[in-house]
C-alpha cells in the first residue's frame, strides 16, 4: 500500500482488494455465528456490505497515519492490518485480545497500528481525531488522521465542533463519513434537514466529495486523492461514502424500519460480487483463484476462532489494572 499516489489497477492489486473484502465478509459472518452461539457477547455491529469503504480507504494511508473509528470497526481493523486472531480474541473477551479483552467488539484499540478505537459514543471519536491531528501539526509531523464515522454522527454537536476546529486550525484530518442511510433505525431523511452531507462539510470550508461506497476502486481512488490533498494543503478533507449495510444495525434488530425489497436492491450492488464479476469478465479471476482465496481466508478465520476459544480469561485479581497509569517517581522541586 503506497499512501497517496496512484491506484494501480493491475490484477495483483485487484485480487488483493477482493481478498481483503472477502476477509472482512467471512470474518463478520463468523462473528454472527459465534454471537448466536453465545461466544461473543454485548453488542455486535456487522460491517457486511460496507467492505469497500474500509478496504479502499486503508489503501490511501501508511503505517504512520492514524485511524479513529466507531463501534462498527472490525472491517477497518482488519484492513488496517490488525491480526484476525487478536481481533477475535477481543470479541471473546480473552486476554490475548487486542485490548486485553477489556473492550470487546466496540473498543478495538491498537497502538502499533495507530488505531484509536472502537468508539461507542456516536460522534465521540471526532474530537479525538482533531486532537491527534493537532498534535501532528504542532510536532511538525506530516501524518494524516483518518476519522471514520456514520452519517448519524453528523447530527451530533461534536461533529460540527470538530469540523469547525479542523477547518479553523487547518488540521490534517480526513473525515470519512460512511453514509449507510440508517442511524440505527432512523433513515437519513428523518434525521437530517440537509441529507447531502458534503454540504455540511462545505459549510465549514472543507473540501468534500461524495463517493460510491459500494465500489472499492472508487473508494480507493477518492481516498488517495483526499489524503494527498490533506498532506499537501495541510487542511482537512471530507469524503461521504454512500454505502449500505446488508445486515441489521446490530444482532438484536428486527429491522422494522426498512423493507426487505430495499435490502435486496442494495445487495445487487454488493461490492464483493461487483469486483468478482468485473475480475471474471476481465479474465483476472479463475474459479481456482477464488477457491484458493476462500480457503486461505477460511483457514485464517478458523485459526482465529480456535485461538480465541483457547485463549485465557484475565484473572479477576487483575480487575483494577490499567485504570490509571502509575505516576512518575516523586519529585520535590525546590526551584522553578
Amino acid at each position: 500500500m503506497a499512501p497517496g499516489g496512484k491506484t494501480h489497477l493491475d490484477r495483483g492489486h485487484l485480487l488483493f482488494l477482493l481478498k481483503e473484502m472477502l476477509r472482512i465478509r467471512r470474518f463478520e459472518e463468523r462473528c454472527a455465528e459465534l454471537y448466536s452461539a453465545g461466544k461473543i457477547r454485548g453488542f455486535l455491529h456487522l460491517y457486511i456490505g460496507e467492505e469497500a469503504n474500509a478496504v479502499g480507504v486503508m489503501q490511501a494511508i501508511g503505517v504512520d497515519d492514524a485511524v479513529v473509528s466507531t463501534y462498527r470497526e472490525h472491517g477497518h481493523a482488519l484492513a488496517r492490518g490488525i491480526a484476525a486472531r487478536a481481533l477475535m480474541a477481543e470479541m471473546y473477551g480473552k486476554v490475548e485480545g487486542v485490548s486485553r479483552g477489556r473492550g470487546g467488539s466496540m473498543h478495538v484499540f491498537d497502538a502499533g497500528a495507530r488505531f484509536y478505537g472502537g468508539n461507542a459514543i456516536v460522534g465521540g471519536g471526532l474530537p479525538l481525531a482533531v486532537g491527534l491531528a493537532l498534535a501532528d501539526r504542532m510536532r511538525g509531523l506530516a501524518r494524516v488522521t483518518v476519522c471514520i464515522f456514520g452519517e448519524g454522527a453528523a447530527a451530533e454537536g461534536a461533529f460540527h465542533e470538530s469540523l469547525n476546529l479542523a477547518a479553523l486550525w487547518k488540521l490534517p484530518v480526513l473525515f470519512v463519513c460512511e453514509n449507510n442511510r440508517y442511524a440505527m433505525g432512523t433513515a437519513i431523511e428523518r434525521e437530517q434537514s440537509q441529507i447531502d452531507l458534503v454540504r455540511h462539510a462545505e459549510s465549514y470550508g472543507i473540501k468534500s466529495e461524495a463517493v460510491d461506497g459500494m465500489d472499492v476502486v472508487a473508494v480507493e481512488v477518492a481516498a488517495r486523492r483526499a489524503t494527498a490533498a490533506v498532506r499537501d494543503a495541510g487542511a482537512p478533507y471530507f469524503l461521504e461514502n454512500r454505502t449500505y449495510r446488508f445486515r441489521a444495525h446490530s444482532m438484536y434488530d428486527p429491522e422494522l424500519y426498512r423493507s426487505k425489497a430495499e435490502v435486496e436492491e442494495w445487495k445487487q450492488r454488493d461490492p464483493i460480487s461487483k469486483l468478482d464479476a468485473w475480475l471474471r469478465d476481465a479474465g483476472f479471476l479463475h474459479p481456482d483463484d477464488l477457491r484458493r482465496i476462500e480457503d486461505e481466508i477460511a483457514a485464517e478465520i478458523d485459526d482465529a476462532a480456535a485461538f480465541a476459544e483457547a485463549g485465557r480469561w484475565e484473572p479477576v485479581e487483575d480487575l483494577a489494572r490499567d485504570v490509571v497509569a502509575p505516576p512518575p517517581a516523586p519529585r520535590r522541586d525546590a526551584a522553578a
Binding site: 448466536s36 453465545g38 457477547r41 454485548g42 438484536y252 479477576v316
Partner: protein, 371 residues
C-alpha cells in the same frame, strides 16, 4: 446429529417464540440460509443456519417459546458437527475487597454494644469481641450477660425485691432466746462416733428438726399470707437458707422435715446444699417453703435478726455457737450456747405466742434423742 439451537441475538434476549419454519425436513440448507422466523421482544427476526446440511427433524412447533440455546431442529450435516457449545463460564464477578483494616482491636466496642452494656450493668473490661476486626458487638454483650452467673445477678434482684416487699408489707416483731446447746452437741458427738464419716451429722439438723417439731404446737408460724389472710400449711416445709459462693442466698425447702429422721434430714440437707450450689434445684423446692430457718453458724455472728421471706409469716434464725459462762446447778460453767431468734408476722401472731414457740424449740433441743 448436530442440533440447531435458538441463537442468542442480544444480551437481554432470553427466549424467542417460533413464528414459522422457512425450511422443511428433507430440505437442504446452506450456510447463511434463513431457516425460521422467531418473535422476540423487539420484533420478528429471521434466524440463519451456519452449517450446511439437510433438515432431519423439527423439534419445535410454531407458537412454542424456546429458550436461547435450546435445540430447535436436527440437521444432518456434512463435515464437522455444528452443535453450539454453551457459553463458556466466565470467571465469577469479583467481590470487592472490604475496606482497609481498622487497625488494632483493643478497646473497640460498637455504640450499640456500649449502650446495652450500660443497661445491663456489664463491665466491658476484658470482653472478647466477635465483630469486625475483633470489635465487641451487641451479641458479645448479650452473651456475656447471660454467662455472668445467672442465678447471682437475677437472684440479687429477686432477693432484693422480696426483702423490700417484706419490709414494706409485713409488720415484723422480733424475739430472741439463748439456748444451752451443750447437751444436744454432746449427744450429737456421741452419735457421730458411731457413724462413718460420710454419714456424720451437722448440728444444723438438730436445729431444723427442733423447729419442725415445734411447729406442730404452733401452726401460726407455718404457712403463707395470701389473699389478705393467713393460710396455715398442713405440711411442714422449712426452707433452709443456703449461701452461694458467688454471692446470694437461696432457701430451698426440705418438705415434711418433721417426719424425717435425723439421718434422713442430714442426707436431704447435704443433697440440697450440693444441688443449690451447682444450680440443680427444682422450682418446687424453691416455692414450697412454709417457714425459713437460717443459720449463720460458721460466720460468727452472735445472733441474727432475719427478714421474713414473703409470703411466709415467720423465720427462725440461729447465731453462731459460742462457749459462754452459764449457770448450771447454781454454779458457773462454760457451756456451748446459741442464740435463737424469731421474726414473725404480727398480723398472724403476737409476741406471747412467739416466745412460747421459741421456748418449744429450746425444749426440743434439750432432748436431742427425741428429735
Amino acid at each position: 446429529m448436530p442440533e440447531f439451537r435458538m441463537p442468542s441475538l442480544g444480551a437481554d434476549m432470553e427466549a424467542g417464540i417460533l413464528v414459522e419454519w422457512l425450511k422443511k425436513p428433507g430440505e437442504r440448507v446452506s450456510r447463511g440460509d434463513v431457516i425460521a422466523v422467531v418473535e422476540t421482544q423487539k420484533g420478528a427476526i429471521e434466524i440463519e443456519v451456519f452449517q450446511p446440511g439437510t433438515i432431519e427433524r423439527q423439534m419445535v412447533q410454531p407458537g412454542q417459546k424456546v429458550a436461547v440455546g435450546a435445540p430447535m431442529a436436527l440437521i444432518r450435516g456434512e463435515g464437522e458437527a455444528a452443535g453450539a457449545a454453551p457459553a463458556p463460564a466466565a470467571p465469577a464477578a469479583p467481590i470487592p475487597a472490604p475496606p482497609a483494616a481498622l487497625g488494632p482491636a483493643a478497646g473497640r466496642v460498637s455504640p450499640a454494644a456500649r449502650r446495652r452494656a450500660t443497661e445491663l450493668g456489664l463491665d466491658l473490661a476484658g470482653l472478647l469481641g466477635s465483630g469486625p476486626g475483633g470489635a465487641v458487638g451487641l451479641a458479645d454483650v448479650e452473651a456475656a450477660a447471660a454467662r455472668r452467673t445467672q442465678p447471682a445477678a437475677a437472684m440479687r434482684e429477686v432477693i432484693g425485691a422480696a426483702m423490700a416487699r417484706s419490709k414494706r408489707e409485713i409488720p415484723h416483731y422480733y424475739l430472741g432466746h439463748t439456748v444451752d446447746l451443750e447437751p444436744a452437741l454432746l449427744w450429737l458427738e456421741a452419735e457421730n462416733l458411731k457413724r462413718p464419716v460420710a454419714e456424720r451429722m451437722l448440728y444444723g439438723v438438730l436445729l431444723l428438726k427442733a423447729v419442725a417439731l415445734a411447729l406442730h404446737e404452733y401452726p401460726e408460724f407455718n404457712g403463707v399470707w395470701s389473699g389478705g389472710r393467713f393460710q396455715p400449711s398442713e405440711q411442714i416445709n422449712p426452707g433452709v437458707a443456703v449461701s452461694l459462693r458467688q454471692g446470694g442466698l437461696i432457701a430451698p425447702s426440705i418438705n415434711g422435715a418433721d417426719r424425717l429422721t435425723l439421718p434422713q434430714l442430714m442426707a436431704a440437707l447435704r443433697d440440697l446444699v450440693r444441688r443449690a450450689r451447682v444450680g440443680g434445684l427444682r422450682s418446687s423446692e424453691l416455692s414450697d417453703s412454709t417457714i425459713t430457718v437460717t443459720s449463720l453458724g460458721e460466720q460468727g455472728s452472735e445472733s441474727v435478726y432475719p427478714v421474713i421471706y414473703p409470703p411466709q409469716v415467720a423465720i427462725v434464725g440461729f447465731g453462731a455457737v459460742a462457749t459462754r459462762p452459764w449457770v448450771v446447778d447454781g454454779a458457773i460453767a462454760p457451756r456451748r450456747v446459741i442464740v435463737s431468734s424469731l421474726a414473725a408476722d404480727h398480723r398472724v401472731s403476737d409476741g406471747h405466742r412467739g416466745a412460747r414457740f421459741l421456748a418449744a424449740i429450746t425444749a426440743r433441743l434439750r432432748e436431742p434423742d427425741r428429735l
